[in-house]
Symmetry: C2
Subunit: 215 residues, 2 copies
DNA sequence: TAGATTGTTAATCGATTAACAATC
DNA sequence: TAGATTGTTAATCGATTAACAATC
């Protein structure tokens, strides 16, 4: 095991390992070798072993990996057992969708509450989660100290709210607005840029039809 | 300009360039050099010039790039001017959020219609888009031949619907379900894995608090 | 024990950065 | 013209893959 610096490429593969191990486990499979897992995931066995070796020794020669064990180890590395507190800013359509569908607990977070500016929403509950006024945000954060805030607000409000949350001491922002936030460096920002994602698909499709027209 | 193979890393940066150029343009700025753009984006000028050189020569020595022009070029590379047809499968919370908020036209797609199994939704309109029965899917695709289908359905239905869409001839799937789809190789899949994204944030936050505890 | 598979070191490959001649 | 900045070639850096001794 080399403690060193862990590259972003490795970190972004961890959730994918986690997902595959989850599925194997739910199918009742007990063990797997790096080469079998690699075959399923479409990556090399080398890469899997190399990646895991950043964090420890989780396998056994001649046997491979115990799926339940490895899943738990990766979950631990990702911090899913910490159950950090999380709040949602903006309970519009997207905020609602997350409130209704997304399993925050499985990703290691405890969803506390949501905030919105709409009078119609304030005071209501969605899926058992209370929606509060943005006026309460400061007091709430001071008292509860949530680790992460989900940004599902209009583009125009994003940077201002991000600054406010940074000042209130959140550690991370899960940003669904299509803007590039600039925040103090102690705050981690993870972007979910729908438009970027769809544009890469657009690129691949148009390259494909170009290629077809050439032939 | 080198036509060659274009790496995924380059393709994934294109939408980001596009976004920055959009913003500069809307602020009325006319030209920018690779070094200034790099400074804003937090990347090197070299990388920008190297990336762009995959597709052509868009700048001018001693001047830099005309923002409007470069934006249009990148838009064209990404295929935003093709206005491919797109359908949404699953008009639940997330499907609704996309129907209401997302600007498909700006990403180069024409949103035709949505499909769902819910009797309550079938026949209604959301934001001017008709929601049809899944029973109509085959006939609709045969007639209209949409290029892309958005998958906002429950996990359990995802693979089956993906297979069906692949057989119906779609070129791309924009997959919001947290499953790994396996489809015929002529179909491109672009995943938006919320859970993976949040887990990387979880990782960074827990590493941070570990580091703090050590000191 | 023999076979399988790990963790790790070394080799390769690809992506990023630096340097610079070309030229607006 | 002089200064600025490109596009591209070369150098560096990092990530992926291959190989293999260690060992269950």
């Amino acid at each position: 095991m080399k403690k060193q610096h862990i590259s972003d490429a490795v970190i972004r593969r961890l959730p994918r390992y986690y997902r595959y191990l989850d599925e194997l486990h739910s199918r009742g499979i007990v063990r797997i070798s790096s080469s079998m897992l690699g075959k399923r995931m479409g990556i090399t066995a080398s890469q899997i072993r190399q990646d895991l070796s950043c964090f420890g020794e989780f396998g056994q020669q001649g046997y491979g990996y115990n799926i339940m064990e490895l899943r738990a180890e990766i979950g631990h590395i990702l911090g899913v057992d910490e159950q950090n507190r999380l709040i949602i800013i903006g309970a519009g359509h997207l905020g609602h969708a997350l409130l209704q569908n997304f399993d925050f607990a499985q990703a290691g977070f405890r969803l506390d509450t949501a905030f919105d500016v709409s009078e119609a929403l304030i005071g209501t509950e969605v899926n058992g989660v209370a929606i509060r006024s943005m006026d309460e945000l400061d007091g709430y954060c001071a008292a509860v100290r949530p680790a992460v805030a989900v940004l599902t607000v209009p583009k125009s409000a994003a940077q201002e709210i991000a600054d406010r949350l940074a000042a209130l001491g959140v550690s991370g922002l899960w940003n669904f607005t299509n803007v590039e936030l600039s925040v103090a460096e102690h705050v981690f920002v993870e972007n979910v840029h729908f438009a970027d994602s769809l544009l890469t698909l657009s690129y691949r499709i148009s390259k494909k039809s170009e290629a077809e027209n050439e032939s």
